[in-house]
Structure formats: C-alpha cells, structure tokens
C-alpha cells in the first residue's frame, strides 16, 4: 500500500504540491494523471525518497522509502530518463543494481529477456532509443521482483507492441495482488489499464476514485480529465 498524506512541496517561492493525498492499493493499478508540470513526478520523487517534502508524508507499507530494509524487493521504480549512465552497457547497469541488492547475474539475464533487451544488453545505453531506454528502466524496476511498482510515464516512447506488452504486464501484476502506481498523460492508454484514477492539477488532487467514479457522467476518461483540469483548483470527486 502506498499512502501519500497531505504532501506539500515548496521549491523557491513556488508551491509545487499543495496537500496532495491519495492511496494506491494492492491488487489495483492506480493511474496518476495530470498535465505537464502538475506535480506528478514531484509526488513520485518524494514517495521514492529522492526529494524531500516540505510537509506531509509519503509511505510505503507504513514506512518512508529510506527506512525499507530491502528497497529493491519492495518497490521497483522507473522514472523519467533512462536512469543509467550513457557510457555503461545495459547489462553492466543492471549488474551493479543486482549486486547492491544481493541478486544473481542470472536474474539480470531474466529481466533482460522479460523486457526484450537481451540482444542489445552489451551495447552502451547512449546508443539506445527512447523505447529501449524505457525498457531498461522497466528491467531495473523488475530486478527485485517487487511487491510494488512505481512507474513515471511508462508508455512514453514505446511502440504499439511495447504499449500492449506493458498494459498486459501491469494488469497481470495487479491481478496477482501487487500494487502498481503509474503516472501518465496518455488518457487512452491509461483508461484501458487502470482500476483507480488520481488526477492532479496545479499541485492539487482534483479527482480520486475508481475509473468509473472519476469518469462519472463524462463519456470517456479524457473528457473527464479535461473537464476536471480546466476548472482551476476544482473540488475533488
């Protein structure tokens, strides 16, 4: 269970997050939606202990990320960018992560196979396309076979086959009781993947509920999204 509780984040004089609260539950795929600059990545970075909240808390199974005993086996995270130095090979990148978590080299080969990067694993990350970089990020997130996945814009840059693969993969993870939180600005893709939806705009949560609840009287999630985000500082669902 991921619990974001009244998180506020200031950067300089600007308030980036203004009391963001929501939960991502086990066995569900939770979509975290919002326009660019709404505060999605900032929220995820605070959840993962990368950035510090000005106030409020972001907890993983009741504890902050930095207090997890075995982070890689608890949370798999893939944020924007490749998360790897461009001069290192994809395989070398995954191997140092595996070594830090006490995992074997055979597990590295397994995740390379899962994400379809085995053939290019010996090439430098700098030669990877955006889609390949996303797959490398997914491979790193899956290394510890974690109970929770936190993915920032996971389908961005993937080809249609990759998008279908990730959709099926995430659904299977949730159906086996695991927690999936993913951010996206691609409504169509999200509507086919998620169970719950949280919409954020200008650093505030403007909707939080099941997919059906958030869509409400609108014909699609996209319609609901635009209706909710066009009302500046609108009330939550």
């Amino acid at each position: 269970m991921l619990t974001i509780n009244n998180v506020v984040k200031h950067r300089g004089n600007q308030e980036i997050l203004s009391g963001v609260s929501f939960k991502a539950r086990p066995g569900r795929v939770t979509g975290f939606l919002g326009p660019n600059g709404a505060g999605k990545s900032s929220t995820l970075r605070i959840l993962l202990g990368l950035d510090r909240a000005t106030s409020g808390s972001a907890l993983i199974d009741g504890v902050p990320f930095a207090e997890l005993q075995n982070p890689l086996a608890t949370v798999g995270a893939a944020l924007d960018g490749f998360g790897a130095h461009r001069m290192r090979t994809g395989r070398a990148h995954l191997r140092w992560i595996a070594r830090a978590a006490g995992l074997s080299h055979s597990r590295v080969e397994e995740v390379l196979e899962i994400v379809g990067l085995t053939n290019v694993a010996g090439k430098r990350v700098g030669t990877y396309s955006l889609g390949m970089g996303k797959r490398l990020g997914m491979a790193a997130a899956l290394l510890g076979d974690p109970e929770i996945l936190v993915l920032d814009e996971p389908v961005n840059g993937l080809d249609p086959e990759g998008i279908r693969w990730i959709r099926t993969f995430l659904r299977e993870r949730a159906e086996s009781g695991k927690t999936v939180l993913l951010s996206s600005h691609l409504m169509g893709e999200l509507a086919e993947t998620v169970d719950d939806v949280v919409i954020i705009n200008h650093g505030k949560v403007v909707a939080d509920g099941t997919l059906e609840e958030v869509i409400g009287n609108h014909s699609t999630l996209e319609e609901a999204f635009f209706a909710l985000t066009s009302k500046n500082n609108g009330d939550g669902v």
Binding site: L50, F65, P71, G81, G83, R86, A92, R99
Partner: protein, 252 residues
C-alpha cells in the same frame, strides 16, 4: 527479509566498485594518465642524464611529474561522483541504495580501493623508468627508500582523488568541479606558496606532498610525513563530511 548491516555494506561497496570498473571514462583517464606520466618522466630523465646520480636524484626525477600527474587523479575523483548525475543514474542509485550517507562513504571507499593500486602502478612505473635509464650513472639505490617514497606518492594521489570526489559530490557537475579543483591546484595554491608560505604548508596539496617528498626533496621541511598525512587526510575527511551533509539534505 532482513539483511545484516555488514552484508549490506559489503554489497553496496561491491556495487560502487562495479560502477567504477564498468565506466569506460575511468579506464581512459587511468590509461591517459599512465601514458602522459611516462612521457613526462622520459623528458625529465633525458634532461638529467648527465653526471652522477643517487637515490635522491632518481626519485626527484622519477616523481618530477607529480604536479601534472595529480590532474589525472583529480579528474578521476570528479568523474566518480559527477557521473551519477548523467542520464539520471542518481535516481537509480538512490532507489536501490536509499541510505545516502552509507552510499556516499561506500563510493569513496570503492574509489580508494581502485585508486591506490592504480596510483602505485603509475608512480612506480615512472621511478622504475628513471632507474633503468640512469642505471649506468646511479651510485647505488636504496630500495627501501624508493618503496617508501612510491607508496607515499600513491597515498597522496589517492587522498587527492578522494578530496576531488567529495568536491564533485558537492558541486554535482563535472565542469564546475574541474574549474574549481584545477584552479586551486594549479593557480591558487602555487600563488599562495609565494605569498603565504607558512600557511600554505597546511593546505591539502602542500601538506600532502610531505607524504612522499621527505626522502628526496631539498626544500626546508616544516612538517613530518605523519603530520602531512594527517593534515591531508583531515582536509579530505572534512570535505567528505560536508558532501555527505549536503547529499543527505538536498533533493537528488
């Protein structure tokens, strides 16, 4: 599953070593430093081939390139920490190893494990080259003195690398870190040695030089090798401590 803290520390240290040895830029820096040092040593040796030589003069010539050689190790230290900020690697590092203080200390330890043998190879090769080229003129070589001096020089280069890594961790970007450190070692420090010679002895590079120059330098010595080592290591620990405090407080 709970992991014992010693096991966790060993894993993190191994991972940081893995990062270093799988980074082509680190090896390129090492090889380039090795080659440039040999070329400089060859030039200094060939200019000094006239007349009789002793252990002192062999070490003086073999380590004459130290002032330039340290630039390679400064770059090595900066690369070790600033490379985290290329391609968003620091995000992966901190979601894999969220214990920031332990992670940064492990990175410095791994860097020391890599750097000391590398520095030993480079300094020993320079001195060995000088010995081989001057063997006809040299009037007896003190092996123990040579080993002691080469180990001291490798220690100095390791301490310089760690200090550079700490400054790199503070500044997070390669170019500003290079400007600050090369500016200090090649402009500010030499100027200070002229204007404030007494105070300058307590600066990290000047104090660190006492780690290896005791046996051959004819300059007036203000510190003992142990005092020099202590001051240079002290500076490095201070910068490491500041880097850790900032690393723990700042957003990644």
């Amino acid at each position: 599953m709970s992991v014992s803290s010693s096991r966790k520390t060993t894993r993190i240290l191994s991972a940081e070593l893995d990062k270093l040895i799988t980074m082509p830029l680190i090896w390129r820096t090492f090889v380039a430093t090795f080659i440039i040092n040999l070329v400089l040593t060859a030039a200094f040796t060939s200019a000094s081939l006239q007349g009789a030589a002793d252990t002192k003069s062999v070490l003086n010539i073999g380590l004459a390139s130290m002032i330039y050689l340290q630039a390679g190790f400064i770059i090595l230290g900066i690369l070790a920490t600033c490379s985290e900020y290329t391609g968003g690697q620091v995000q992966t590092t901190l979601t894999t190893i969220p214990w920031r203080g332990l992670q940064l200390i492990s990175k410095h330890l791994a860097l020391a494990v890599f750097t000391f043998p590398a520095a030993l190879v480079i300094t020993a090769s320079g001195v060995l080259y000088t010995v081989l080229m001057m063997q006809d003129t040299v009037a007896g070589i003190g092996i123990n003195t040579m080993i002691q001096t080469v180990v001291g020089a490798a220690g100095y280069l390791t301490v310089t690398t760690l200090l550079s890594a700490a400054v790199g961790a503070l500044l997070r970007r390669t170019t500003p870190a290079l400007v600050v450190l090369l500016g200090y070692y090649f402009i500010v420090s030499p100027l200070m040695s002229d204007f404030l010679p007494r105070v300058h002895n307590y600066f990290p590079d000047a104090a660190g030089a006492y780690m290896y120059m005791e046996t051959f330098s004819n300059e007036v010595k203000v510190l003992t090798p142990m005092q020099g080592t202590g001051i240079a290591v002290g500076w490095t620990l201070i910068f490491m401590a500041i880097a850790i405090v900032f690393y723990r407080k700042r957003d990644a």
